[in-house]
């Protein structure tokens, strides 16, 4: 079942993601496509994740299409102006890519080309708006397209915030993105399920599919690092303790992820598993959560 149909069917939707490597070796991507095919409803392909230059999302999405996997083409606003963005949307369309996830993108100074010129010609909301114009058969300036696009466009939301202003602002941004055409949301990684529940109580009014983000923990150090450096990630102390005390850290990390999946299943319409190097273990997590 394609990603869009899975969303519309009302089933519990499972997506995961692949981060292309720096270079032309695609053997791992081909292998992951084989491993994940049939296990998930869609695979996001990140776009120069963390502002680190890599193989492009468009090319990898195209490979996934050929391998029979439905990709979610992630597009950031950081690197391309409106001409390049729209052209890539047309390219994606003819390559059989049907789903988009639109984000602003980490600032260049956070990546490995710190002297790069940032673009942000369009912001996230303007890009969502542009996609919908193209779906209607027009480019951003109103010129008619010879053959329109038909994208399902999604966006991200940060469900847990450290200030009330940020929390309210995220809900407002969510509402705005929906008003411009966003049809699903994937979230920042959730560890504090109660906080996520508070968010979902507010977000329920929008009646839109939300796929809760899950990042399996590999170590206590990783959890502490994310708490310190990654916006919107709050790993509770007891989870860090579990990782510290774990005899088999991999097994414990996977078990915590599976537990999160089971709990989030009660609260959201799906999950988005960001395995960050553990992509091959995604089927194991799903099995542990009785979703495999």
């Amino acid at each position: 079942m394609a990603f869009k149909e899975a969303l519309e069917s009302g089933k519990f939707v499972i997506t995961t993601e692949i981060g292309p490597l720096k270079g032309t070796d695609i053997s791992e991507i081909v292998e992951l496509a084989k491993i994940l095919k049939g296990k998930v409803d869609g695979i996001n392909v990140t776009d120069q994740q963390s502002a680190v230059m890599r193989l492009g999302s468009l090319a990898v999405c195209s490979i996934l299409v050929k391998k029979g996997v439905d990709p979610v083409f992630q597009m950031t606003c950081r690197d391309r102006n409106r001409i390049a963005l729209q052209s890539d949307l047309l390219s994606a369309s003819v390559l059989g890519i049907k789903n988009l996830l639109v984000i602003s993108g980490d600032y260049p100074t956070l990546g490995d080309h710190i002297d790069a010129k940032d673009v942000y010609d369009l912001d996230t909301e303007q890009l969502i708006w542009t996609v919908n114009r193209m779906n209607q058969g027009y480019d951003l300036t109103g010129n008619e397209l010879q053959g329109k696009t038909d994208f399902l466009v999604g966006a991200v939301v940060k469900p847990v915030s450290d200030t009330s202003e940020s929390f309210e602002l995220q809900l407002t941004m969510m509402e705005k993105k929906i008003s411009l055409g966003a049809r699903f949301f994937q979230t920042q990684a959730v560890y504090d399920v109660e906080a996520f529940e508070r968010f979902m109580k507010q977000a329920a009014q929008f009646k839109i599919p939300v796929l809760a983000g899950v990042i399996p923990l590999k170590s206590a150090g990783m959890a502490r690092y994310m708490n310190k450096n990654v916006s919107g990630v709050f790993v509770p102390d007891h989870m860090i303790e579990d990782m510290v005390n774990a005899k088999d850290k991999t097994a414990t990390g996977l078990e915590i992820a599976a537990r999160l999946l089971r709990e989030l299943r009660e609260l959201s319409q799906g999950v988005h598993i960001m395995a960050i190097g553990w992509e091959k273990k995604v089927p194991d997590i799903l099995r542990l959560a009785d979703l495999g």
Binding site: D118, D121, E125, D162, T163, E165, S166, L169, T172, K176
Partner: protein, 231 residues
């Protein structure tokens, strides 16, 4: 106000590698305020170059190097000294350096880098900055400019990068959109954020053609003509 900082001394020495005699030109305007090209810095540069074996033929600190007519009148009495020099080292902003280059038929070396003030104009020291974008959005953003207050210059609202109300780009910097949100809330206009701001017409940010043909511009062009250059 243009803010400048002196280039690393080794970089300046590199410019002068194949030259012996240099004339130093400073500016009593912004470069003086930046402490990069006022009299003390010009004298200091003179001593440092002498230590490196260079001959400093002379120096001058002009009131405003950005005014070409003034530069021409001030440099004329020094013409002989300038013309025996291999080059001029100019300690000023980029405009001053370009004015000097337009007025003197000698190689010109920039002694300073002009630093981006990020939309700050005049002597204003606060957070309020203007990029002169030609299509003001302040109506929708609580009177706080999203182009300058947000690191990414996002027009429609926050990204997800803030932590404890600080920006992902620099934790020393407040999240611009949380600042805007707070202001809108204080003034009962929070719904302004829901209004869609369409793609920006960056074309309006470019100087209009008439801005490049004002009387002052024309005067500067005439004063900068080749015939009137010293030498």
């Amino acid at each position: 106000m243009l803010l400048s900082e002196q280039k690393p001394f080794d970089e300046i020495l590199g410019y002068l590698e194949h030259e012996e005699k240099v004339f130093i030109l400073g500016c009593d305007g912004c470069a003086q305020a930046s402490q990069t090209g006022g009299l003390p810095q010009v004298l200091e540069m003179k001593e440092r170059l002498k230590k490196e074996g260079k001959t400093v033929t002379g120096y001058h600190v002009a009131d405003f190097l950005c005014q070409k007519a003034l530069v021409a009148s001030r440099l004329r009495p020094l013409e002989d000294t300038i013309m025996v020099s291999d080059s001029l080292l100019v300690l000023s902003c980029g405009i001053g350096i370009q004015c000097a280059a337009a007025m003197v038929k000698k190689p010109i070396h920039p002694g300073c880098n002009t630093i981006n003030l990020g939309g700050s104009r005049g002597e204003w020291k606060g957070y309020e900055r203007c990029l002169e974008c030609g299509d003001c959005l302040l109506e929708y953003t609580g009177g706080i400019c999203p182009l300058t207050v947000c690191s990414k210059g996002l027009r429609n609202g926050a990204c997800g990068g803030a932590s404890n109300a600080k920006c992902e780009v620099s934790r020393d910097r407040p999240c611009g959109w949380e600042t805007i949100y707070t202001r809108l809330k204080e003034t009962g206009r929070v719904d302004m954020i829901k209004r869609f701001i369409p793609p920006k017409e960056w074309n309006k940010m470019r100087p209009r053609s008439e801005m490049l043909s004002t009387p002052i511009w024309a005067l500067e062009q005439r004063d900068g003509s080749r015939e009137e250059r010293p030498g």
